[in-house]
Amino acid sequence: MTDLTKLTLAQARDGLAAKEFSAHELTEAYLDAMSAGRALNAYVAETPDIALKMAKDSDERIARGEARPLEGLPIGVKDLYATRDVHTQACSHILDGFKPRYESTVTANLWNDGAVMLGKLNMDEFAMGSSNETSWYGPVANPWKVSGSDEILVPGGSSGGSAAAVAARLCAAATATDTGGSIRQPAAFTGTVGIKPTYGRCSRWGIVAFASSLDQAGPITRTVRDAAMMLTSMAGHDEKDTTSANVPVPDFEAALGGDLTGLKVGIPKEYRADGMADEITALWERGAAWLKERGAQIVEVSLPHTRYALAAYYIVAPAEASSNLARYDGVRYGLRVDGKDITEMYENTRAEGFGAEVRRRVMIGTYVLSAGYYDAYYLKAQKVRALIKRDFDAAFEAVDVLLTPATPSAAFARGAMTDDPLQMYLNDIFTVTVNMAGLPGISVPAGFSGEGLPLGLQLIGRPFDEETLLKTAAHIEEAAGLDLAPAQWWK
């Protein structure tokens, strides 16, 4: 029997439909891979019993000719999504033991389409991080290593577990979330595809909130086609989330194919910096060249407020986080540390329950929202945000999609940036603008660094135009023609 975990989501779907193997066999193959892959620390909760039961149901449906779009396909779920009666802790100590009595809308969509749940995936605590080093469950290892080196690298974050699991074939696809780059940056670091759809495209109901005006659910997958399949299932208006957009969900897979004649691709000049690694610049130029060969027109554009986006983000996101994380107080769920009175209980619970990065961000947020500072910081940041959005609106009058690097470098070593929060924040420099403007963005593997590590390119699109992103990304994927299977050192 061939190794079923080698199949992409689309190939697995086709194989199941052709009855080349059963959903049970496919799930078993992934459960075996998960056991063998524990060194990566990608999963924080494995759900083999649930998976096998779901696979059994899928086989029965397939036999009756009632296969749904993702029937029998084994998926990993980021620990940020509420999964009924299953570990949901946002990888934080403060949600110890929390098992929700409800299911998030996005995961419900996936199960309603027949997908199988393998387990919950590791992440930075409360989605705050760019390396998956802040998790209560310990760091995740990037399946990729520098050629000839044994050094463990980070998979990126916050969706490090999702990205590592997909890259190492411990699931056929994964759900993730992106607030400042948490889908796209780890995808770039692990040679996987990650798409953050337009704000409002997917429902946030049942996803542990970090920054409500920035958070968005999205998939991490091995191929662009797989991402299209996942997004079609995950997306959709939800009455329970008033920020979810009431727009129809197209069949995103149908957007793939066709050449790029007439497509205008913008290259934002402010993303080019002196000192940027030559190989990143070269990759970016190569990406533009591929698109041009395939019929696109390359146009330089300007996004003048680019350099302020990260600072504005580090006001807005912590501010919203301080509000969203106020609920973790030991009263209704999770960890409770006693105190002499209720205030002490709050203070002790939160001190013990939150990790250092979460604490830092909640405190920044509290400070910038406090009396006397709200105008100077939060309002100012929201005004800058409006200007950032305006820049993109103007650019999209001239072009249809923007091409940028996804990250300033390839994956870095575990521990390399944990001493310096500010340096860690700079990892999101190319991705944050997209969340601030609410636009869709995709990271697609486009090449390798000199040391053999994957590098990604990012495409940014108009609101609700994920179709153009997927179509264009598929061309980059095809042109790059990469072999994206890291050596399996973790077995």
Binding site: G97, R101, E151, Y199, G200, E239, T242, A273, D274, A277, T306, R307, L310, A311, A312, Y314, A326, G330, V331, R332, Y333, G334, R336, G339, D341, I342, T343, E344, M345, E347, R350, A351, R359, R360, V362, M363, I364, T366, Y367, Y377, K380, A381, Q382, K383, A386, L387, P408, S409, F412, A413, G415, A416, D419, P421, L422, Q423, I429, A437, G438, P463
Partner: protein
């Protein structure tokens, strides 16, 4: 140098470029750290003065924030936190360069009217679900230490 402890929080561009952080894990990490610092500083044109900014945060402010955030901070942690928060807040100061005269703050990503529904009960009557994860439950209540003095 962006540091994490001590009194004088400085963000000297030159020093930052010359002494990259993250030196613990080999030449590769050093190269990445340096490259990362270069690109990002070039992009964001970090040009901070050597002096401690007026907006930096001291121990008392950290205590006040900790109280507002209801997170107990130990005395011995105050200096480190003050340092970290200061360096982040100093960096954020660059937003003052942006002319936002007449710009409306962006309150939502999309032009949308807040959706409403009829004010009727459509959910609930499931106290066991609501209390399922309670650290301490008494009947249909969450039990907590006394609130009223």
């Amino acid at each position: 140098m962006v540091g994490v402890a001590g009194k004088g929080m400085r963000m000297d561009t030159q020093a930052f470029l010359e002494t990259p952080r993250g030196l613990r894990h080999g030449a590769f990490a050093r190269l990445l750290s340096w490259r990362l610092a270069c690109i990002t500083l070039a992009i964001i044109k970090l040009d901070c003065p050597g002096d401690q900014s007026l907006m930096s945060v001291d121990r008392d402010t950290v205590r006040r924030i900790a109280t507002l955030a209801r997170i107990r901070v130990k005395e011995e942690e105050l200096d480190q936190l003050a340092g970290e928060l200061s360096s982040i807040l100093n960096w954020i100061e660059m937003l003052n360069e942006v002319d936002t005269e007449g710009v409306e703050p962006m309150t939502s990503v999309e032009q949308m009217e807040m959706k409403k529904r009829d004010d009727v009960v459509t959910d609930g009557f499931c106290p066991d679900d609501v209390l399922a994860n309670a650290p301490r439950r008494e009947g249909n209540f969450f039990a907590v230490p006394k609130v009223v003095e």
